[in-house]
Amino acid sequence: MIGRMLLQLAVLLLFAPLLPGVINKTKALFAGRKGAPLLQPYFDLGRLWRKGFVFSRTTTWVFLAGPVVGMVVPLLAVLLIPFGGLQAPISFTGDLILLVYLFGLSRFFTAAAALDTGSSFEGMGAAREVTFSCLAEPTLLFALLVLARGADSLVLGAMLGPQLAVQWQGSGGPVLGLVAVCMFVVLLVENSRIPFDDPNTHLELTMIHEVMVLDHSGPAFGMILYGAAMKLMVMGALLVRVALPLQTGSMALDLLVFLAGLLALAVLIGVVESTMARLKLPRVPQVLVGTTLLSFFALVLVLR
């Protein structure tokens, strides 16, 4: 079990920064540019890590807690979920709730760190982030409940188990499709991607997540970037497992399938970002309520 844990953590730590790289490369190709190299996020992290900390005198320990919690939470969360066909290192009844609220904890600390600076822009960003994620949370919970119902168990490892493949082939296909769509939307919201948030803009009016981390610099900012990449990978792992429940039996092959699925997901995110415009802010809650209702409908379909 210790080996499993170490393997999962190592895969996460090594592989996570590649995903933003792939997304950016896809976007560059769509725009007709050559784009930054695939490994650019690794270089960025290295560069940030060599810099020094700069702290504003008005901030307290909360300001540093934001990035630290943001980086530790995905490391804990990854222990709860199965990577592709592999088993989750830690699993117990009800761990799906822990998974959802671990991310809630990291969001709380990021927002608190933003508020700690006392900047009005960061306060605005924190308000937006919290609003949108509280609208995205029911979607994720309903989607997880649908999976729990399908597996007849409240353990994430079992919910994402081999019965998914059977369900896709049987009558549960449309329901799982709905769940996958809802989870994809949640993934885009939670990782501040277009159409909900633009990770590239540095315009105060449009930023949500970016504005909260404006005051972080050096290693703290590196931790935020690393944490964001790992969060993308952890949430992507859930989606990839639902969408691609292949299981070969051999551990290496399962891991390869899973990583290939993650890369495909990153390309898909890149395509979505290149082809869609950012939604107007008042439209975002409408879309999120819509996906909540979709996932609720999926739950009704499996409950009857």
Binding site: P174, Q286, V289, F297, V300, R304
Partner: protein
């Protein structure tokens, strides 16, 4: 296959309830009509009766009526439903609630054994309720026509279930009724548009010299 079709039909209901753009709504309802045309074939196999029913539904629901509506939109020059009586999110929420209620309610109906637990009856009920909601909550007369169409689509789903028992004549009658209804509404729409220079039905309640 059948279940996939029916779920898509329900998703289109949600889309029409939540979208403000009339052209997109009309296209969605046309798509719904086209999907419904596949339904008899998917359920009963390629018999002559099912084929006729599908072709009829496709021409009327999928092509003819949407075309008439799109033409009406061009002539009266409106693009979107501006402010419905109940907001879009609220209508969507209501739509999901009635859909959920339809699924629960259908389980209590004394249906024939082979229809019990299927998706047909709940989908039909949910589609009818969505049509009602569109009729009730929108101001523009054109969206209300769309609501009427969605309502009829719901009835059609039910009819497919019973298509072996219902004579073809009755179904042709329903389709013709629908076409005539949309025709009449098109004429009425034009008149309202000319008289009030808007299709807002709220204006109709005001007295005018």
């Amino acid at each position: 296959m059948v279940n996939l079709l029916l779920i898509t039909v329900i998703l289109i209901n949600f889309y029409t309830l939540g979208s403000a753009r009339l052209v997109a709504c009309i296209r969605a309802v046309a798509l719904q009509g086209g999907l419904l045309a596949l339904l008899p074939l998917a359920t009963h196999g390629p018999s002559g009766h099912a084929l006729l029913l599908g072709v009829g539904a496709l021409t009327f629901k999928g092509i003819l009526i949407p075309w008439l509506l799109l033409r009406a939109i061009r002539e009266v020059r409106i693009r979107r439903e501006v402010e419905p009586y109940i907001g879009f999110v609220a209508t969507l929420a209501l739509g999901t609630l009635v859909t959920a209620a339809a699924f629960i309610f259908a389980d209590f109906l004394p249906l024939a054994a082979e229809h019990l637990g299927g998706m047909f009856v709940p989908t039909s009920l949910a589609t009818m309720f969505s049509g009602f909601l569109l009729l009730i909550t929108r101001r523009k007369a054109l969206t209300q026509v769309l609501g009427y169409l969605v309502l009829e689509n719901g009835i059609f789903v039910f009819a497919v279930l019973l298509s072996e028992a219902i004579p073809l004549m009755v179904e042709t009658g329903i389709l013709l009724d629908l076409l005539v209804g949309v025709f009449v509404m098109g004429i009425v729409l034009n008149h309202i548009g000319r008289e009030f220079s808007t299709l807002n039905t709220k204006r109709l309640t005001a007295l005018k010299e």
